[in-house]
Subunit: 327 residues, 2 copies
């Protein structure tokens, strides 16, 4: 298959987005959106760095790569609309593998009503997939990290640490001894096929001000980004951080590491004025996902924004890299 | 330097585009453009496949990668506005090298008044740069490949084969014997630092209908894309294809190969009704580049769109891959 054939072969026959004027097939794609602002981001995933074929089939690779990008749009309160994929293909990946990667992306894109509008396929030494995501956001309803304010409550959607648990189950033969099959499959599914929280974030529409970040690099890191951007402190209460009912079957050290620093759950972390908590509950209800209050926002505790983790009577300052200083 | 530091370190301090609301520093960039349509494309360049350090310094790699993307916007008649870069970095590339790649991009971005609004930096085995370009285009003035019509004239900007000549000069010690230093430098410059024809394409504004393609893969291929998309035949007259005055110093076989099939000149190939030729001349004059009539459009010569090359009394049908069938 030559350089152009793959993207052509997967060019969608119909458009899902009414704003799309021209998809694949010319020098660029063309679209129109006169009433909303445009949000866009790019992420690159490299085999051996971000995923391995040991834990993911090509289908999962495609699904997860696009999920991570859609999650960025969710974290801005936006609606994903289009994506472009650029793939570096090494020898050893067959056309069937590539078709499976695309199928994983397209199945997810179909769920979110997103169009593939462009891409590039080149040969190289290692598999690398770069996804550009483009979406819309209502003007003045963008959910920036800098929106956290003193006295806000901090919330998180879903359950945390699941994707790390799933990865551990797939890579360590001893992992999760005695874990029921159903729970095992749940965690593995969360690693391979995460669900970006677009509908939840959009359902926060009635709230005037929300700070949002998607949990791609662990809640400690995401909280630190909000704290830094807003120049506040985020106090998180360990026992309130939501975990799956079977999560306690892993040892305490793993639980702590995965729920605080484990990435790729693609849940949302946010802050909102306390009076708007009912909006959060209603959004979670509408999106049919759990949501939990997990902390509060205060003025910066030591001059600069940071994250304070409360575990029982002890508190710890988490820095951005996940390194903890005991206090 | 960690994964995030590089993109942060190069995050622009000021915005060039008034429509940009949020650049680097959150989950996505945010921009607004209520009056024009959005055009976007992505291209990936891999070391060893698209470039080597033998012929390009890191600065040129950055410059050329972005030039190729801007050229796609030019080929739609659009104005580039934003770009995002995703880089896979192997060992052996230093921070200085990366800074040079960025400098090459930024110098070109500055010329075109474009903002860097996002990106990703990951480690891997081979250098791979993926650039997403986003621009604006006036509604109903998009220059599609499908716009060619019978009796249109075919034109090309600049001179063709230059980049291939430059690459040959850089890779073959015997190349261009006796070629004056100035001409040698010119061809090498055209290989390393191409000039996308944005201002020319925009200056065609007064023309109602233009088919445009940028010459990234050789004029034969680009002409075939227009012929196929418009279901017409493009007749090209060899002696009218514009070349640099020193181009004839290379042997005939090289000349033919480079001007017809040599890629990466990033000139524009177009078709337009004959009555609008003065608009083309005026646009070239405004953009201070040469333009040449090189052919005509006819109904498809054998049922489907194709390219017919006239060389003296002989004519040849060029297919898309550049393979020629003698007639």
């Amino acid at each position: 298959m030559d350089e152009f054939s793959f993207i052509r072969s997967i060019a969608p026959k119909v458009h899902r987005q009414s704003g799309l004027i021209k998809g694949i097939g010319d020098d660029t794609a063309v679209f129109r959106q006169p009433y909303q602002d445009i949000v866009t981001a790019v992420d690159t995933f490299v085999e051996g760095v971000h995923f391995t074929r040991k834990t993911m089939a090509p289908y999962h690779v495609g699904y997860r790569v696009l999920a991570a990008n859609i999650s960025d749009i969710a974290a801005m309160g936006g609606t994903p609309a289009f994506y472009m994929i650029s793939i570096v293909i090494p020898e050893g990946w067959s056309e069937e593998d590539l078709a499976s990667i695309y199928k994983g992306m397209d199945d997810l894109a179909s769920l979110y009503h997103i169009d593939l509008i462009g891409g590039d396929t080149v040969s190289g030494k290692e598999l690398s997939i770069s996804v550009t995501i483009i979406g819309y956001v209502e003007q003045n309803k963008v959910r920036y990290r800098s929106h956290a304010r003193e006295k806000d409550i901090v919330f998180a959607t879903g359950t945390l640490g699941d994707a790390s648990a799933g990865l551990d189950l797939l890579t360590n033969a001893d992992s999760g001894r005695g874990l029921p099959e159903e729970a095992r499959n749940y965690f593995i599914h969360r690693h391979r096929m995460p669900s970006p929280r677009v509908s939840f974030a959009k359902a926060l529409h009635a709230a005037e001000r929300v700070a949002l970040n998607d949990i791609s690099d662990g809640i400690a890191n995401e909280a630190a980004e909000i704290a830094e951007a807003s120049n506040v402190s985020l106090h998180l209460y360990d026992e309130q951080i939501p975990v799956h009912q079977s999560f306690k079957r892993f040892n305490r050290e793993q639980q702590r590491k995965w729920k605080l620093f484990g990435g790729e759950d693609f849940e949302l972390l946010g802050t909102i004025p306390e009076r708007d908590w009912p909006i959060v509950l209603s959004a979670a209800n509408k999106a049919m996902i759990p949501v939990a209050k997990i902390g509060v926002v205060t003025t910066p505790s030591s001059g600069a924004g940071n994250v304070v983790l409360h575990e029982g009577n002890r508190h710890t300052i988490l820095d951005k890299a996940g390194y903890t200083h005991l206090k």
